[in-house]
Symmetry: D2
Subunit: 139 residues, 4 copies
């Protein structure tokens, strides 16, 4: 899977605060980059609002393979796409590259649509499903 598999990408400006005592971007911060790409993706598709109460899914799983360290001053590109749509869950695939094009990480997350009031999973809204399916030809 290369960058061509992705229609969407988002760039991250690495912050000094992102770097840890070993001089590289800390591993937990990769998940912040992934999360931001997710937020940006949903905003791009008109599926996110800035109102946190409207975010109606929860993160069920996240995993990342760290391929290359990120240095201070780098501009990182995070490619993201919805890679699976289930009944109430869906997955994102990610690919992170550095300013020089090298592969930094590949990652995946699984989200579940959730009704916070009733505290249980709910089906992916049909309108949401159609917008994502239209955007992702491979789904």
């Amino acid at each position: 899977m290369t960058e061509e598999a992705f229609r969407f990408s988002s760039t991250v400006k690495v912050r000094w605060r992102d770097v840890d005592a070993l001089g590289h971007v800390n591993n937990a911060v990769y998940f912040t980059y992934l999360e931001q790409a997710r937020v940006d993706y949903l905003r791009e598709l008109g599926l996110a609002t800035d109102d946190p109460q409207k975010v109606s899914f929860i993160l069920a799983q996240a995993s990342c393979q760290f391929k290359s360290p990120i240095k201070l001053g780098e501009r990182v590109t995070v490619y993201a796409r919805v890679s699976e749509l289930g009944n109430s869950s869906f997955s994102f695939d990610y690919r992170m590259t550095g300013g020089d094009g090298r592969l930094i990480a590949v990652a995946r997350s699984v989200q579940v649509c959730y009704d916070y009031a009733r505290q249980k999973p709910v089906p992916i809204p049909e309108a949401w499903r159609q917008i994502v399916t239209a955007y992702e030809p491979g789904l």
Copy 2:
């Protein structure tokens, strides 16, 4: 796999800053909790120093299954153990529970012993291996 499988645990005091706009501990922060448990584990076994330059492994993979949200004011316990020892890589398994004993997350990370100067993986030092094997009867 339950808590009994772990000899080691470390507690985390949840910070206000750990919580995001949805009112729960942010997903990336779970990886900070796991990292801290790893650091605490190695310190407990005398394998860590406070000198970042002496930490001689890199993180190759991390994954987490989020089972229950963490609320503000909670005290979280992170159970950690070395679950596999390869030639140059080793894995940690984790289990996080809340103050009420409920399961919060299960997670895993893979580390690779690394020579930063030569920029290549190196075998796990024999002394390190012996200390960990002595501590973890299941290895």
Copy 3:
């Protein structure tokens, strides 16, 4: 002003993630420690709830003098007290010390009671004022 001026203190376990590329706790993280002491203080006095919506003041100012770096593995004590009570604003004074008793930082913050719905400052609630005044003999 020494530790004797404070009735309240809260301890912080320094996390690996708190440390930056220079090997010391990052300056922005000091403000997270101060914030946590503030939250802990209010909880101690029964003035905080875990419901973020109930927090009815905003931070107007924060300042910190950095006296000594914090190292990994240290346990930091943050002393906090309400040092001034105005009509709608109040200030906190802080003092941070290390495990060896050395002074790490002195700091101050100013908060303003705020009605989020009407988006304007409101007087400090009388019940709140009485509880704090009873706790802080110097006010």
Copy 4:
């Protein structure tokens, strides 16, 4: 003091992780934004390297007045300038504005040139002083 007083500015893309349970960018994160502007400023003037070991000053003080909350999705501009040059210390002044031009914060930090090896303040290097003075006409 308005934006005209500043030659330099740096933009920040607000991250979802920057926002806290109250739905605004957390106060400690403002100091991360200020720090990043400082790093960007020094890089712009050729005074920073990506090697953390070469950063030869410590932060002595930081203060911030919070004028307006920052919302998710905003692009923040941080104006920064060296506002005072002493013998071994120097100060930065900052001004943060939102995408709509409103004032978000004004801030100040004091740094001290420091010899980490000898653990004592040292005079600002003359070459450094000349570069900054040439850049900041008001100094």
